[in-house]
């Protein structure tokens, strides 16, 4: 014990010593250790080991002090009954009996009809040139690509399509995806992460909603096409930012809008959005699936329609499945923005690339669009004509602006329940189908949509429809409406 006492007093005195004497004292400690009795050292050793063990052992959780015995576990496992894998679906659910469509003269269930339901705006689904180019590509490359873009799945056709799209849209770069739905759903989470803020229009389509969900950011919905509501939200956010400037410096903010909304068939006010962008320092992502190849003098979409500089929009995303009549999607913009998706777009890196014949078909469709810009004026004329013709059908109201090629016909007065509304509209559609006019109900996932649109019939305008076809269709719908909706 005397040596321990000595060591203790030593420490008390150490603090007053200078460096040279410190060294001398250190040598003395070693001397003492050497001469200390064995039991003393062992005791100190055990104490040190005990402290180390306590430091590394798990903390004692008070709320999980109970532990189930093996028997209790077995009983619980025996008793547990899971829900069935899928809930039963009623036999007459509309999705169970799809119309079977053959070819592109649209033969539905054996009857040849005029197509007012597919998004074939420029009539390119049947175009011979497009088919020939696709066949030439098939004879050269086969059908599939057998790999993602990073691993020998990049074909020269893909690179050509990307550069053609970038040139057409007058941006620096474009990137292609192999599925239209996956395009915006992969693009949004590549930039916006947890903690960022996204302002979205209420009428955004389902693929945007899935992209938002995958991004885990804060989502704020503003009323459809209501710039004051958006400005109010942006002002609130600005006040928040001023309270916490450090956090604000790393929180990215985005606005996601569609050029032409698929659910409400109207156009977003792009010039006001651009002013808001520079005023509140928010980036804009524009989804142009319905407006690419439709709006604008050369079909470049809503930026050309309003005369907005395309560099002001950070990212434009569109799918090639509507006007371009192929499969897949693309994003275009400045290289600074687009290049990032080549390594962090999930639908790009982890998925097989677009089959080359579909890319070749898209290139040919672009060729047709560039050679003949008259086609857009023709389409606009037809849209106007159809819009006028569908006004004033008793019992049905037309939703959509004049230049929209995909319009909705909703019931003027709802019967109260969504199911009966859908049933009424379905009867109208079937009536028209009997008379060889192909229409379809706009379909939504009722439980998953954030802001479920009202039931409606989708009417699509294409350049292939003649005036007679339109007249026929309108009179069919009028007859059906008066017959069904007394």
């Amino acid at each position: 014990m005397t040596s321990q006492f000595k060591i203790a007093t030593f420490y008390l005195y150490r603090m007053r010593q200078s460096w040279t004497t410190y060294l001398k004292e250190l040598l003395e400690i070693v001397h003492y250790f050497y001469f200390a009795p064995a039991y003393h050292l062992i005791l100190e050793g055990i104490l040190i080991l005990w402290i180390i063990r306590l430091l590394f052992s798990k903390t004692y959780k008070l709320h999980e002090t109970y532990k189930l015995t093996e028997k209790e576990k077995e009983d619980l496992i025996e008793e547990w009954q899971p829900d069935p894998l899928v809930p039963p679906v009623s036999k007459d659910h509309p999705s169970l009996s799809y119309d079977v469509v053959t070819g592109h003269k649209i033969t539905i269930n054996g009857k040849e009809c005029i197509n007012f339901a597919s998004f074939n705006f420029l009539g390119l689904l049947d175009n011979e040139r497009v088919k020939q180019k696709a066949l030439a590509s098939l004879k050269k490359y086969g059908v599939g690509t057998c790999g993602p873009r990073g691993f020998y799945g990049t074909f020269d056709v893909h690179l050509e399509l990307e550069s053609r799209l970038a040139k057409f849209m007058k941006t620096e770069e474009a990137i292609i995806y192999s599925y239209g739905f996956a395009t915006i759903a992969s693009a949004i989470p590549a930039y916006s992460k947890r903690g960022d803020i996204i302002f979205v229009d209420e009428a955004a389509c389902f693929s945007i909603q899935k992209g938002l969900q995958a991004s885990r950011s804060f989502i704020k919905y503003f009323k459809h096409n209501d710039m004051e509501d958006l400005e109010r939200m942006l002002k609130e956010q600005e006040l928040e930012d001023q309270k916490n400037p450090r956090k604000a410096r790393v929180t990215r903010k985005f606005i996601v809008v569609e050029g032409l909304y698929i659910n409400t068939a109207d156009i977003c006010p792009l010039p006001e959005l651009v002013t808001l962008k520079y005023k509140y320092k928010v980036r804009i992502f524009l989804e142009e699936s319905m407006s690419f190849g439709v709006l604008g003098e050369h079909g470049r979409g809503v930026t050309e329609h309003f005369g907005v500089n395309i560099d002001d929009i950070d990212l434009i995303s569109a799918n090639m499945e509507n006007a371009v009549a192929s499969i897949g999607g693309f994003c275009c913009g400045r290289s600074f923005v687009i290049d990032h998706q080549r390594l962090s777009g999930q639908g790009y890196c982890f998925s097989a690339s677009l089959p080359p014949m579909l890319a070749a078909a898209a290139i040919e469709a672009l060729n047709i669009m560039e050679e003949d810009p008259e086609i857009f004026t023709v389409l606009r004329g037809k849209c106007k004509h159809v819009h006028k013709a569908l006004q004033g059908i008793p019992g049905l109201k037309l939703v959509g602006v004049q230049s929209a090629p995909a319009l909705h016909l909703q019931l003027e007065r709802s019967s109260g329940s969504r199911d009966s509304d859908m049933q009424l509209l379905r009867t109208i559609v079937e009536y028209c189908l009997e008379r060889r006019v192909a229409l379809t109900l706009a379909r939504y996932l009722e439980k998953e949509e954030r802001f479920l649109p009202s039931p409606s019939i989708r009417v699509v305008v294409t350049v292939e429809q003649t005036e007679e076809d339109v007249h026929n269709a309108v009179s069919c719908i009028q007859e059906a409406a008066s017959a069904v909706l007394k």
Binding site: I77, W80, P82, D83, L85, V86, V89, H93, S95, L96, V101, T102, N115, A117, S118, N120, L125, K131, L138, K140, Y141, G142, V143, G144, T145, G147, G150, F151, Y152, G153, D156, S178, Y179, G180, F181, K210, A214, A248, R249, R252, Y278, E321, N322, A325, I327, S335, F336, D339, H340, Q346, F350, S351, A352, P355, M357, L358, R443, Y444, E448, R458
Partner: protein, 516 residues
């Protein structure tokens, strides 16, 4: 990192033939050198960033617009550190453009970079007849002539290329219905449904099947599409160690016994999500054990056969066929058509109630475009070819090629991961510099391989991945093996330290007779 071999087979009575998998441990010296390599690269990365920041070095990274300089930066500097400084140096090993069929041999577009991989230029020349060890062409259906291509040509002429509508609205063609009936017959299930993209099949259907209050038990190394689907579903996700049945059983028992976290209510459903072949490891799922666990604990099984459909099994019907199990035991059989069928898209097969439910509630059926007709026709013809005629020839050729290739690589002394029967062969490289060197050296010898590094694999376990195909002839495999041998000696890649008990060739012939 040293990895202990915890994937030991228990319950070997469930397996009809031996299940040989190996993941040899990383040698300690190699691990240390690899960390050192990454450390040096990181230091240089910081140095280069510093030089670029002070404009001593020309900066070729794309910049933000002038007017938007005071916006919140779109990317954090550190997020792109790895891309700017490590990935850029060896970027020429990926995204190599090709200009022919991705068959057993392919033609690459020659591209050079004059500014250290920041930009590429096509010289206009084509590198011809590069042996393709990178494309997922397991059964050799990537071809531009023959019965499949002719049928696809007919389908294009009849239907065109696009569809322009979703399945529910106006996009349901008769060719889709024919395809679905054929897929159901091929798999041996009641009914099936086909989708336009394999990735989207997972990310759009798992949310339709599970929701809040359900539990998803997913393997550690599941594909990004499965992880995304599970996240979008909103269920609780728990991860079990790769192919480790004890870990899975423990999670199952704890989950059922304790219920949902905090409320302790019982779970509505438990879904086990596994893949047939894991493409980064080359391992095959221990399906008999998983099925036994699933039956015992009343969970549901989701099997993603992206790589294994067509490639495994005596009849090419996938991993269920390989183990000789009943397809009805797997609740949800999912797969893709990209790999073994030379097309694009995905499918889900199962009971009729399941598929009916998916027809009404899958996100893809309602919002996404249906499959393109020539692609559907290609699947139909290739599937009929696997089923109808001498289907076993293709699968047989593939399994012979696989066994030969793996055996030879192992004899040479490389570390090969994975199951002896899987056509995906990952070969370990470990050090970052060897990733780039291997890819380039193999290309010089006219062999196209795939190299993978961080973040697709753990940071020190970078690898090269060979995909054996039924279209590869013995000569092509021998050429590839010779080149790998050469490069392996050049780069000192022969890390394996185990003794090779070499079976004689006579044993090989006997084994293949037994498989009949």
């Amino acid at each position: 990192m040293v990895r202990s071999n915890q994937n030991v087979t228990h319950n070997s009575s469930l397996y009809k033939k031996p299940f040989e998998e190996s993941f040899e441990e990383t040698p300690l010296l190699v691990a240390v050198l690899t960390y050192m390599g990454y450390g040096i690269l990181t230091i240089f990365g910081y140095l280069r960033d510093f030089l670029r920041h002070w404009s001593i070095e020309k900066c070729q990274v794309a910049r933000e617009k002038e007017e938007q300089k005071d916006f919140v930066p779109l990317y954090q500097d550190f997020e792109n550190f790895y891309t700017r400084n490590l990935y850029m140096r060896i970027r020429d090993n990926w995204n190599r453009p090709i200009c022919s069929v991705p068959g057993a041999k392919m033609d690459l577009v020659e591209s050079v970079s004059h500014d250290f991989n920041w930009t590429f230029e096509h010289t206009g020349r084509v590198v011809k007849d590069v042996i393709n060890m990178g494309s997922y062409n397991y059964l050799g259906f990537a071809e531009n002539n023959g019965a499949c291509a002719d049928a696809a040509i007919e389908a294009t002429e009849k239907y065109g290329v696009g569809v322009a509508s979703s399945r529910c609205e106006m996009g349901n063609l008769d060719i889709h219905e024919e395809l679905e009936r054929l897929v159901a017959r091929f798999l041996g299930v009641e009914s099936s449904m086909a989708f336009g993209m394999g990735f989207a099949t997972n990310s759009m259907n798992i949310p339709a099947l599970t929701g809040k209050g359900c539990l998803i038990l997913s393997d550690e190394l599941n594909h990004a599409s499965l992880v995304l689907g599970a996240r979008l579903a909103g269920s609780t996700i728990r991860v079990f160690k790769h192919n480790n049945m004890q870990s899975l059983e423990k999670l199952l028992r704890d989950a059922i016994a304790h219920g949902q976290p905090r409320t302790h209510r019982p779970w509505k459903k438990i879904l086990i999500v596994v893949e047939g072949i894991y493409s980064m490891e080359g391992s095959i799922v221990r399906l008999p054990e998983v099925v036994a666990l699933k039956k015992r604990y009343k969970a549901y099984l989701y099997l993603d056969e992206a790589h294994s459909i067509g490639a495994l099994g005596p009849n090419g019907r996938g991993v269920v066929d390989y183990f000789g199990l009943d397809p009805k035991d797997v609740d949800i059989m999912m797969g893709t058509f990209t790999k073994s069928f030379g097309a694009a898209g995905g499918y889900i097969g199962g009971k009729k109630e399941l598929i009916d439910y998916l027809r009404c509630h899958s996100h893809s059926a309602l919002y996404a475009i249906s499959m393109s007709p020539p692609v559907a026709q290609q699947i139909i013809s290739s599937m009929k070819s696997i089923m109808g005629e001498d289907g076993t020839t293709l699968g047989r050729q593939l399994s012979e090629n696989t066994t030969y290739f793996r055996r030879k690589l192992r004899e040479m002394g490389f570390i090969i991961y994975g199951n002896d029967d899987s056509p995906v062969v990952p070969m370990m490289l470990y050090m970052p510099a060897k990733i780039g060197a291997f890819g380039r050296e193999m290309l010089k010898r006219n062999i196209g391989t795939v190299v993978v590094g961080f973040p697709a694999t753990p940071i020190i376990e970078s690898r090269a991945r060979f995909c054996v195909s039924a279209a590869h002839t013995r000569e092509m495999l021998d050429t590839a093996l010779e080149a790998t041998d050469e490069v392996g000696d050049l780069l000192q890649l022969k890390y394996s330290r185990r003794e090779q008990p070499l079976p004689s060739l006579g044993w090989m012939a006997e084994e293949s007779l037994l498989q009949d």
